[in-house]
């Protein structure tokens, strides 16, 4: 693909993979925006935007079905948050909905209450806070279904490549493990043993692990025979230098980040440490990467669509963070007194900009073909039944 074709936008572009990094920047931007507001309208809008983009640009692959899973996970989070408030809430607020019988706790557990009055205010607050988490999960789910995990790991620096492979292998193992569990359960049934319940579970752990181990050995043999782990020649000095630099980098990063977040440490110490950590980390990676002789097949380009997708994600984050400083009130779902949340114009527009990602990103390969396929129709006798 020439440079110029890579810059074409949306449906005008030839189908190609959008750089997975761009999708993750976009999704993390939306998640950041979600983390800074409890306004239910804005949160719902964020979920809608993420969902719309997923529906438009999701490829037809096994890993791209995770959005619905993450949405369901979000609902579970909300439910747990609300239930916790019902049972352990402090009962602050005017509108008491109902009262649970209280359980007296010993003195050392002061501050924790079980049961007691449950108010509309605290339930609403719990709901909003649950929604924040659920929205962030939805954004992560969107990135998961839009960006192939394997392609993301393929774009990591070559020094981290082996870690990447381990993760990819782990991910392909998960669905196979599910298949193994089903097979073992079938076998138990065929032997006339219980195929449900705790005993069945205990009985099937060993065979499943055995199968996984056997497959791991097969895979290792296959990877070895296909050249995995061939290394280039590097001098001992370069190897030593890269190790020292990487170690320095990690220490610098940890101390620097801790210093910045802690607030007690003067910024004058933290910031230089962070910079030194990042720099030595980068140099160490480059040196370590020299050992690897790997090349990349068809790396995803980072062209105009990738920039625009990233901007579409970063824009809501920036606007919402700015509003959190200028006018924090509109970003908060009103709890006391209970009221209808406001819909501030600028954050709303910024979040809608996030949906542009679904317009500017090129279609993933294969999707066009899938759409041409006639919908699955059931044979008549099944419908009748």
């Amino acid at each position: 693909m020439t440079r110029r074709t890579a810059h074409a936008l949306g449906d005008n572009a030839l189908p190609r993979w959008t750089h997975p990094g761009a999708w993750w920047v976009w999704a993390l931007g939306l998640a950041t925006a979600a983390s800074r507001t409890t306004n239910p309208l804005l949160l719902a809008l964020l979920v809608a935007v993420a969902g719309w983009v997923v529906a438009r640009r999701r490829p037809d692959a096994p890993w791209s079905r995770s959005y619905a899973v993450f949405l369901r996970l979000g609902l579970v989070v909300i439910a747990i948050r609300v239930l916790f408030t019902v049972f352990f809430g402090s009962g602050i607020g005017e509108h008491v909905l109902f009262t649970l019988p209280g359980v007296p706790l010993p003195d050392w557990a002061a501050g924790v209450g079980i049961g007691g009055p449950v108010t509309a205010e605290e339930l609403l607050l719990a709901l909003y806070q649950g929604m924040v988490l659920a929205t962030m999960l939805a954004c992560i789910g969107a990135a998961n279904s839009l960006a192939s995990p394997a392609r993301l790991l393929a774009s990591v620096p070559s020094a981290l490549y082996e870690v990447g492979v381990a993760v990819v292998v782990a991910m392909t193992f998960a669905p196979q493990l599910v298949g193994d569990v089903a097979r073992v359960r079938t076998a138990r049934r065929l032997r006339g043993r219980p195929d449900r319940g705790v005993r069945a579970f205990v009985g099937s752990v060993m065979p499943v692990l055995e199968g996984a181990l056997e497959r791991a050995v097969d895979l290792a043999a296959a990877m070895d025979s296909r050249g995995y782990g061939r290394t280039g020649e590097v001098t001992r000095r370069v190897r030593l230098a890269s190790s020292v630099l990487l170690l320095l980098g990690v220490v610098g990063l940890c101390v620097g980040v801790y210093g910045l977040l802690d607030g007690g440490t003067p910024g004058l110490i933290a910031l230089p440490l962070l910079v030194i950590g990042v720099l030595s980390g980068v140099v160490g990676m480059v040196l370590a990467g020299r050992r690897s002789i790997r090349t990349r097949y068809r790396p995803d380009p980072w062209a105009l669509p990738e920039w625009l997708v990233s901007v579409a994600g970063v824009a809501p984050a920036v606007v919402v963070i700015a509003f959190a400083v200028i006018a924090p009130d509109v970003l908060v779902g009103p709890v006391a007194p209970i009221g209808w949340p406001a819909l501030p114009l600028l954050p709303t527009v910024a979040i809608v900009v996030g949906a542009l990602a679904g317009v500017v990103a090129p279609r993933p390969p294969g999707l066009a073909v899938v759409r041409d396929v006639a919908p699955v129709t059931l044979p008549r006798e099944e419908v009748a039944a």
Binding site: L190, G192, A222, D224, S225, R226, G229
Partner: protein, 542 residues
């Protein structure tokens, strides 16, 4: 190209060598077929070629193996990745990535080829193996034949001089096997790749081989020679060769075409006997008019929204052996699992011994119907044969020793202390079969029982199945193996796309079908002969 010099291999903890004093030279551009019974060291021989033995598996290798001038003692498998491509028995177990195109590129990335070279080779390989339509497909969504071709393509992109394949067609239906073998043919003819191939299903591959290597095991030297020479005395031989041996043809034909050209006189001799044989086959069918063992009535089974069976109706009596055939994904396995109640029909009904199997649990189920799954190991849970038999007796509350007695009948001489994984494929199948038979189910189901079996083990299986049917069992087997179906089945049911497209006596269904006809029938059609044993019996009788 490949040279074995006085090679012996002993695995750690093994008391006898797997290979001893092997000498073999494979020149460039040849397709060499490795045959031999299971457990004779074929896989070990193949793994020596790229150094997986001993670098990866452990053990001790003495002597020397060189490939394209490189000594495997000095080069571990990854350093040989650009000269040897090795395709494992189960292609799925060797896939590293998740998409077809990435999988093809993986090997090239590892050895560090330039991006433009990689791109060109991926496109060439897609064309060569007919994978263009699959390039963006996830690997898990591919069929067996497609996976096998992707696995071959994935090792081809590094342009290896040698390709090593371990049973590439044993899990495939006849159509998919043709696909893979045609691709291999093209590699040998157009690219001059040297191919070393192990396969049990000789009837599929022997005609493509330039030379055949027989691995005898038990310390005897390898036997190497031209296919038609080796086949005269080989312990394993496809039916067309056995027919040739019976009729005394010289040179021995390896293909159906050659055999047909030689078969004129034999056909004349057999013509007067054919009618009698057909009558006898029909007659046995009528004798079988026993009590109904299973009925499937207009059953619809779906996986999610995908229909796997679309209104299948079938009934079988005790004493019948029914072969269910059809391409991969036609619904054969689904039919068998529905019969043991693993799937509940969405519409229609299934009854085994008068009961719906999905409502039965535990002993109730295994006393009525038993299934030996595609991977017999799945059924085996214990660490030794003795324990396995004992636990099986407990499972079906039979008298201690019941399973062992069945096993001794099916496969004599298996030691109690052996781990089930250390048994040969045939013995493992026999053990799984004994576990199932211990509960004495009137209905016995077998899914793809001949996968990985050599001819000797297959012959034993045929005898066993006949005895079981004579004892009043109803046997249903799902199989790709047309030779097996021809040998044992009293009735053949062909499934396509979840529907029954043919159901009748084996002779009627199989003769004349280009896909499901056994070799003997192809050679002697239109006469209704199916197996060599049948012909031998008829000739003796006359």
């Amino acid at each position: 190209m490949i040279r074995f010099e006085d090679v012996s291999v002993v695995y750690d903890g093994g008391d006898s060598p797997v290979l001893s004093h092997v000498d073999l030279h494979v020149p460039e551009g040849e397709l060499v077929l490795v045959v031999g019974r299971t457990g004779t060291g074929k896989s070990t021989l193949l793994k020596c070629v790229n150094g997986l033995v001993p670098h990866f598996t452990g053990g001790t290798l003495s002597g020397r193996v060189t490939v394209a001038g490189r000594d495997t003692r000095l080069h571990p498998p990854r350093e040989l990745a650009d000269v040897v491509g090795i395709v494992p028995q189960d292609p799925l177990s060797g896939f590293v990535t998740d998409m077809v195109e990435d999988e093809l590129a993986y090997g090239m990335e590892s050895i560090g080829l330039a991006p433009d070279v990689m791109r060109r080779r991926v496109e060439e390989t897609l064309d060569l193996l007919g994978l263009v339509d699959l390039r963006n497909r996830p690997l898990l969504s591919l069929s067996g034949g497609q996976r096998q071709r992707v696995a071959i393509g994935a090792v081809l992109t590094t342009h290896p001089k040698v390709l090593v394949l371990d049973e590439p067609t044993s899990a495939l239906d006849p159509g998919a096997a043709e696909e893979v073998l045609a691709a291999l043919q093209r590699l040998v003819h157009d690219l001059g790749v040297t191919v070393l191939l192990a396969e049990h299903r000789l009837e599929r591959v022997v005609q493509y081989a330039d030379r055949v290597v027989v691995v005898h095991g038990d310390g005897r030297p390898l036997e190497v020679g031209l296919p038609h020479e080796i086949m005269v005395t080989a312990p394993v031989a496809p039916p067309v060769v056995e027919l040739g041996r019976l009729a005394g043809w010289d040179p021995l034909p390896l293909t159906v075409r050659d055999a047909r050209r030689a078969a004129g006189p034999l056909r004349e001799r057999l013509a007067p006997l054919a009618d009698a044989a057909a009558r006898r086959a029909r007659a046995t069918l009528h004798v079988l008019d026993g009590e109904t063992a299973l009925t499937v009535d207009d059953a619809v089974v779906r996986h999610g929204i995908v229909p796997a069976l679309r209104g299948v109706s079938i009934a079988a009596d005790r004493g019948e052996i029914v072969a269910v055939m059809g391409r991969n994904g036609a619904g054969k396995s689904t039919l068998l699992s529905t019969l043991v109640g693993l799937h509940v029909p969405f519409a229609g009904s299934v009854a085994v011994g008068g009961e719906s199997p999905s409502r039965l649990r535990g002993r109730e189920l295994i006393r009525r119907v038993g299934l030996v799954p595609q991977e017999p190991t799945d059924l085996l849970v214990a660490d030794s044969v003795g324990e396995e038999c004992a636990s099986s007796d407990r499972d079906c509350s039979a008298a201690p020793g019941t399973t062992r007695a069945v096993l001794d009948r099916l496969a004599p001489g298996v030691h109690d202390a052996t781990h089930p994984r250390d048994l040969s494929e045939g013995q493992r199948l026999a053990l799984a079969l004994s576990v199932v038979l211990a509960a004495q189910p009137p209905v016995l189901l077998l899914d793809e029982p001949t996968r990985g079996l050599d001819y000797a083990a297959k012959r034993r299986l045929v005898t066993t199945l006949r005895e079981l049917a004579a004892d009043g069992h109803c046997v249903v087997l799902a199989t790709h193996d047309v030779e097996l179906a021809a040998e044992v089945a009293t009735r053949v049911v062909v499934l396509a796309d979840g529907e029954i497209v043919a159901d009748g006596p084996a002779t009627d269904v199989v003769v004349g079908s280009p896909m499901f006809a056994p070799q003997v029938s192809k050679v002697l059609s239109p006469q209704p002969w199916l197996t060599v044993t049948e012909i031998a019996a008829a000739l003796v009788a006359s």
